[in-house]
């Protein structure tokens, strides 16, 4: 009952602060929208210059890149330095700008494809037909998802988990810190409220906002951005609540080691950025083993993987239960440490 009183107070406080409510709803939408458009706007067409007089099949190249003919190599270099082209061809010289590996790879692929097409064109018609047949792609079936899945579809679950993790960490950490700094925590301890009831009250209060965030983020992803997802809403909600729970427990625990808001923010590089890097936004398969082991120490690693399993692979509760239990373990561990840290105020 007393936990509910604490939760009610938190809900009243936060919902009365329009700016914080706005942050909880607008910030995730803004971040997701920016990332969505950034990923959708990757480089797909390269700009190539051909120095006049070079023995190049212009028509063939125009099918692969945006081609421009320049009068001499000096002009080609000037345009490359100005960022107007990604490379140029001058007789047998194939040049790539080279500072951006992603764009360079695209240019190299165009050069390779062009060379292949030229060689095929030089073959007798029968041999060229056979060669084209050899180059035909194999029919590939997607076990999960489909051909229309984009990179954003894969990243969306991790981003959802990360945003909830980050915002709940900050808001709950600052709320608890203010409770300590303003003296209200001492006042709370001069009542029959148990330390555990206080922590549970915080969990319930912020749980309401985690639910709200989940609904907003999920609705935005599905109905506005039209992200591909299996819409098992309640399971996604359960995973997000577990992520929010671990984040809240960690935020309130770390607030015990901060004397002001600024000191709490100093924990972000230690506990939030590693979780952002380990949560699946970057593929960890070929990273050194030490980082893979390290990633196991952060709750969001399990939460984001569970979200991917449910949203991308259509898995059910039974499949993600181990991840949920591990996160529950993290949460109980952080809560136990926090309840212990509160002994500083009252040892019962």
């Amino acid at each position: 009952m007393k936990s509910l009183i604490i939760a009610g107070r938190l809900i009243r406080q936060i919902s009365g602060d329009k700016r914080t409510v706005g942050l909880m709803i607008v910030a995730p939408i803004l971040i997701i929208t920016i990332i969505y458009y950034m990923l959708a706007s990757g480089v797909s067409t390269i700009n190539l210059d051909i120095v006049e007089g070079s023995a190049v099949d212009h028509e063939l190249l125009e099918g692969m890149a945006a081609v421009r003919v320049v009068p001499d190599e000096e002009e080609a270099v000037a345009r490359l330095e100005a960022g107007l082209s990604d490379g140029y061809i001058y007789n047998d010289k194939y040049v790539v700008e080279g500072s951006n590996p992603g764009v360079s790879n695209l240019v190299r692929k165009v050069y390779a494809e062009y060379a292949m097409q030229e060689k095929l064109a030089a073959l007798p018609p029968q041999a060229a037909g056979a060669a084209e047949e050899l180059r035909a792609p194999l029919p590939v079936e997607a076990y999960y998802g489909g051909d229309d899945y984009e990179q954003f579809d894969f990243l969306a679950p991790s981003m959802m988990g990360l945003i909830i993790c980050f915002l709940i960490f900050i808001l709950s950490g600052i709320s608890f810190l203010r409770e300590r700094i303003s003296g209200t925590l001492e006042r709370l301890m001069v009542s029959s409220l148990r330390r555990g009831q206080l922590v549970v009250g915080y969990f319930l209060g912020f749980g309401v906002f985690a639910v709200l965030q989940t609904v907003v983020i999920q609705a935005f992803m599905i109905y506005v951005l039209q992200v591909h997802t299996y819409a098992n809403f309640f399971l996604i909600l359960l995973i997000n609540l577990t992520i929010a729970g671990t984040s809240l427990a960690l935020g309130t625990l770390l607030s015990a080691f901060a004397r002001n808001d600024f000191q709490l923010f100093q924990f972000i590089p230690l506990v939030i950025i590693p979780q952002a890097l380990f949560c699946g936004l970057i593929d960890m398969r070929e990273t050194p083993a030490v980082f893979q082991y390290l990633s196991q120490l952060f709750p969001l690693t399990y939460g984001a993987e569970a979200l991917r399993d449910v949203m991308l692979r259509g898995m059910g509760l039974g499949d993600v239960l181990p991840a949920l239990l591990i996160m529950l373990g993290f949460m109980l561990f952080f809560i136990a440490l926090n309840v212990r840290a509160l002994r500083k105020y009252r040892n019962i």
Binding site: K2, I5, R9, R12, Q13, G16, D17, S182, G183, T184, E186, R187, L188, M189, V190, S191, S192, L193, R194, R343, Y345, R346, N347, I348
Partner: protein, 246 residues
Amino acid sequence: MTCKIEAVDLWKQLGAEQVLQGIDLRMDAGEILGVLGPSGSGKTTLIKCLLGILSLNKGSVKINGTAIPNLKLMDNIGYMAQTDALYEDLTGLQNLVFFARLKGMKRKDAYAQACSLMKMVELSRDQEKKVVNYSGGMKRRLSLATALIGDPGIIVLDEPTVGIDPLLRDLFWQEFHRLKACGKAIIMTTHVMDEAEKCDRLILIRNGRIIRDGGPEQLKAETAEGTLEAIFIRSARQGREGGEAV
């Protein structure tokens, strides 16, 4: 009278400093006890140890014969800290109702008592305003009302009248005397000497020890100047120089 608080041989170390050094204290119901002492003498630490929100290195505190901290006893204590300790993004009334509910009061009773206390501290007109919009004096009044919510038998006030005007101070003291007449035990720390004179009993603390204990008139009679201020200043100076006698 019934003994409300009994503290025996209290020792508390904070960091490298021994803040309390063997304090013994008894206090009865219907008494206003003033705790005097220079800054850093251990007044607030003593109060927190008496409340059970700071653990002791040695010694014990009993309230109504029960050792603290004890959850059941906690609801019978009202505490006003040096800081206002209020939720600034809630209204004054919401603050009071919240603390009343935490003390186990039903919603209706909590609301009724909160309104009555807001009236007592003359904040009725502003009870629906958020605390962030209150002046310093209004916050102190609300903080006092918060300490009184739930009708506690023991009221602990840490410098309750700091930063408030004489009119308001007079209002506070009227309330303290009314509470005393109802049999409440009131402990307060103060730096204001004319306020200390209104207490029934004073203890003077220096370097974590009680160096004087008695009624205001009794203490004044012990000095040539015949004022509490003279005792306080001499005590503070000797504390800085490391002396013991007053």
